[in-house]
Symmetry: C2
Subunit: 299 residues, 2 copies
Amino acid sequence: MPLPIKIVFLGTSASSPTKERNLPSVAVEYEGSTYLFDCGEGTQRQLMQNSISPQKIKAIFITHMHGDHVIGVAGLIRTLALNKRTDPLEIFVPEGEEKKLMPLITFDKAFINYKIIIKGVRAGVAMKGRGFSVHAFKLMHSVPTYGYSFQEEGRVRFDHEKCKKLGIKGSMYSEIEKKGRIRVEGKAVSLKSVAKELKGRKIVYATDTRPTKTTSKISENAELLIHEATYADEFQELAKQRLHSTASEAAEVAKRGKAKMLIIFHMSARYKSPSALLKEARKVFKNTEAAYDGMVITL
Amino acid sequence: MPLPIKIVFLGTSASSPTKERNLPSVAVEYEGSTYLFDCGEGTQRQLMQNSISPQKIKAIFITHMHGDHVIGVAGLIRTLALNKRTDPLEIFVPEGEEKKLMPLITFDKAFINYKIIIKGVRAGVAMKGRGFSVHAFKLMHSVPTYGYSFQEEGRVRFDHEKCKKLGIKGSMYSEIEKKGRIRVEGKAVSLKSVAKELKGRKIVYATDTRPTKTTSKISENAELLIHEATYADEFQELAKQRLHSTASEAAEVAKRGKAKMLIIFHMSARYKSPSALLKEARKVFKNTEAAYDGMVITL
């Protein structure tokens, strides 16, 4: 069985919060650690509401430096210090924007007793973890903006009964996994014949942005594409002007990329209910859901 | 009838939020305007939860520049800009700390389309409004910290029947109010004989601080003293060390100042329920209540 990947929507509103929706942040929990994507104001409290320990956060991936996506960093890092964190914390921001984050960390000269490592990302691998990596890809917005994809590595599941029969044991497992075939007692054995390859899962996070071909390409076979849908179709001109997406544009991205599921989020505060947006998106891409604060998806 | 003064507790936790309590902020609503005391992270959403329009905020009074009391300014001012505010916004901070607020305003180069006026306060009148003033007074904490008292001006209520009989009319009302006595048809009339003087109401806000004599003095006859009570008595040493107050120390301040009512707030996140703190405070000062998020007091 593959390990569960848990995705928790901490905040799903655009620009300003509403009674029901906090500012953008999505947590991905994997192998006992948490990775945050964006960190709008109030994220630390949303973590508490969803019983996620802030101490388990290994890294924060910021799409762009607009306040509504990043102000939550200020409070979160202070709470981590109060709670005596010692592990370093990595914060990824678009390359060239690293300095913009500093004022939120230093403005009151708070005592931060652990290392905060700010890293600039460009298109490519942003971080490599145990069994997964996070890739950054360029989005199209009014300031430098990157989307992220959380990609699990492929895994090999051995048929242990078969292996035992053939005499495979000990270090031979890693050898056959690495080389694809080995000789056992003079006989050639291929990896395929004794193991199944399990593909890694992929979650793509894209906000704030116009729909792009790159996002579709990255979303190929993704279990989940989380894409902004700030407006309904009637505001397409506004979406173009402000470099956001409509619900059906988000759905087009999912469709072109053959993602398995689309979650629309980052909805304008004007939409009390996401039903209109959801209807428009589903016309284009059926397997669409609308995010809400506290929504959990387990893969 | 005097105009109602509505006090709304938006956040009542200390240092870091809890599931139930946001970071410190108290709103005072008076004559259609709102005055905020402190503005912890998430305050803008707490305003929404309590149906207070952020556009009605005239001024924000910051006690001190520790992040948990001020980070909410960053998101709030951006939402006000998105909502097309044109009125200026005054933000009061301890004198000498004005520059520390700037990074929260400018870090992402957000477009703020109204004036933000940062004013340094020292002991004395910080702001004069129509029918009230806000006074600042020094507190005792690890960084420059000021408490604030919202003081309504005294009002005069005329006995109009009596006035009519004596021939008082038109501009004579303001004349007698100003001078204390006038001559009407050759006869001396004192203000006292035709009017009652209604004392202005007073609300005192004191956090973060050790108990001080100044706070007691300012609280004389206050309708309400809102005082921090970070710890229970068993942590008195810690309170001294960290320059905070215990619940019974807060109650001593209220007792000495003969305040009419005490609200303890800014309770450490370790207290899931404030009942222990409340019990200790009430032993010293009976008319004590513990604040909770969303608590409303109307005077």
